[in-house]
């Protein structure tokens, strides 16, 4: 949601009243401003911006942690010819599309449904609880459910549906699909809350007028509610894109990107190359690609939204 409102113009502070000795005054003013700004700027520069630049620089080296030499763009060439990287990119696309469509659509539907049913608050609480759990707790829960001898298979066997048992996490693309579903279970609560906030901002006169004109049910939903929720939809979709590109916790805890590298996303490929295989240059190249994808996706999305309004 953050990126969206930053295009507004920042206020330009009024020039200070001219002092008797302007040079000393300016110096003192700089001291004050520095004192307020520096802690934030220094921390961001030292711990985030410099590491990012180091990563970008390092991606041009063949670096195994012991020795390193400059190889230009060879890491990137190797990356794009590596079939594992193609799979990782494909999985990332799955994650973006899956977590874009499912939690956003379900969040919208559940928000609208529970808003008009009397005991909707029960359903809302049920959907919000997983959102309040931490990502690690959610992942442990789904490990328990999805393992080959886990809760889902045991339950299927005990009700006589043993034929439906699967090795949920051991085959691609099934493992990626079930992990996206698990994430949907957790993330829908967030988009539902945001859509509920949006629903409350629709003027009741608009809805009543539409009802007087005979709009009901599905018609009312598509023609009135969905267009009115547009500003909130932009926020929710923007958040989903960025979050899905950074997906790490749940895949790391459920499959470690495996079996082999089958369920890896870009975030996991980068982690494995760097910290498991000590291929620092190659891992850096992966994270530069990830940064470019995140920036491009945010930019494309925001630009389209800006021109459509």
């Amino acid at each position: 949601m953050a990126v969206l409102t930053t295009t507004e113009k920042l206020p330009v502070a009024a020039p200070p009243a001219a002092g008797t000795r302007p040079r000393r005054f300016q110096w003192r003013r700089a001291m004050w401003v520095g004192g307020f700004l520096l802690p934030a700027v220094v921390l961001i520069a030292v711990l985030l911006v410099v590491p990012f630049l180091v990563t970008a620089y390092r991606s041009l080296f063949d670096d195994n942690g012991v020795s390193s030499h400059f190889i230009g763009l060879a890491n990137y060439v190797a990356l794009f010819t590596d079939p594992d990287f193609g799979r990782s990119l494909l999985n990332t696309v799955f994650w973006v599309v899956g977590t874009l469509v499912l939690p956003v659509l379900l969040g919208l539907l559940i928000a609208v449904l529970t808003n008009s049913v009397r005991w909707g608050s029960v359903a809302r609480t049920a959907v919000v609880i997983p959102y309040a759990l931490s990502g690690s707790a959610t992942a442990l829960l789904w490990t328990f459910l999805l393992q080959s001898d886990g809760a889902i298979n045991q339950t299927l066997a005990s009700v006589g549906l043993g034929g439906l048992q699967q090795e949920w996490l051991l085959h691609w693309p099934l493992n990626t699909v079930v992990m996206i579903l698990a994430t949907t279970w957790q993330a829908t609560g967030a988009s539902m809350i945001l859509f509920l906030v949006g629903l409350q901002t629709i003027p009741s006169e608009t809805l009543e007028a539409a009802k007087l004109d005979g709009a009901q049910g599905v018609r009312l939903f598509w023609s009135i509610i969905v267009p009115q929720l547009r500003p909130m939809t932009i926020v929710v979709v923007g958040m989903s894109i960025v979050n899905s590109l950074k997906t790490f916790d749940i895949v790391w805890l459920l499959t470690r990107g495996g079996p082999g590298t089958a369920s890896e996303t870009l975030a996991l490929t980068m982690y494995r190359e760097t910290f498991t295989l000590s291929r620092y240059g190659y891992g850096a190249a992966v994270s530069v690609v990830l940064t470019v994808v995140v920036l491009a996706a945010s930019w494309l999305y925001l630009r389209r939204q800006a021109t459509q309004r």
């Binding site: 953050a2 004050w32 401003v33 934030a40 990012f52 390092r58 001898d149 809760a151 509920l196």
Partner: protein, 270 residues
Amino acid sequence: MASRIVRNVLVVLVSVLWLVPTWLVVVNAFTPAEQYTGSPRWWFASGDILGNIQTAFSTAGVGRGMVNTLIYAALGAAIAVLISALAGFAVTVMPVKRPAIWFWGIYIGTVLPLQTFLSPLFTGYAKTGLYDTQYGMLLIYVAMTIPFAFFVNRNFLMTVPREIAEAAQLDGANWLRMFVRVHLPLARSALLATFVFQFTWIWNDLLFGITLSLSPNVRPVTATLADLSGSYGTAGPPVILAGALVASIPTVLLFFVFQRFFVNSLRLTS
């Protein structure tokens, strides 16, 4: 009529779909580890969740992890909120040249993916002796949470009328006095909202926890739980589930206590 029935059925279906996994976890976290047969239970075997929690605390150090995480989340979020309030005050109230550049300089932190920082941070931490220390963890969590806190605080301070600052200046207040006496009290609700958000973010982080720390005295609870799931066979699912439930209590409580408040602050910032 028909549409009302359809709607009610759908609401029931949603509730059941979402509650079943939650129910299974709670019930099985209550099952004594030695009675766990490998197939999940659907009803409480006994009320003995304390035994499982005790095992999770004694064999896996979940308690130690929670204390570490509490320090990082509470202290880290508080420091980040204070620093970002100072910076937000500077770019909105003080006569800074080119406030937009300073704004983007700080805000850039939310745009870059976390993974790009990891490897240089690891190397830098190893060289400076910050690796596997509580100071090091606190430092990175403060830096990670500043950009978003800064954004919310700045947005709030933009809504404060200029006249208030001018009146304080006429009264002879210097910048620090104005910040502490006028703007901090005005921004109280925005500060609290960002504190809660950033506390939750730090509490749930896994990536920095498993990368920048190693020893049980430093590792956050998410990393401890991740280790526990790696050794799934030795501890047994009930113990792991009990540990995960206990580790989720603070964020769940915080979330439900501040739910209404969250909704209001979201309406304000979006």
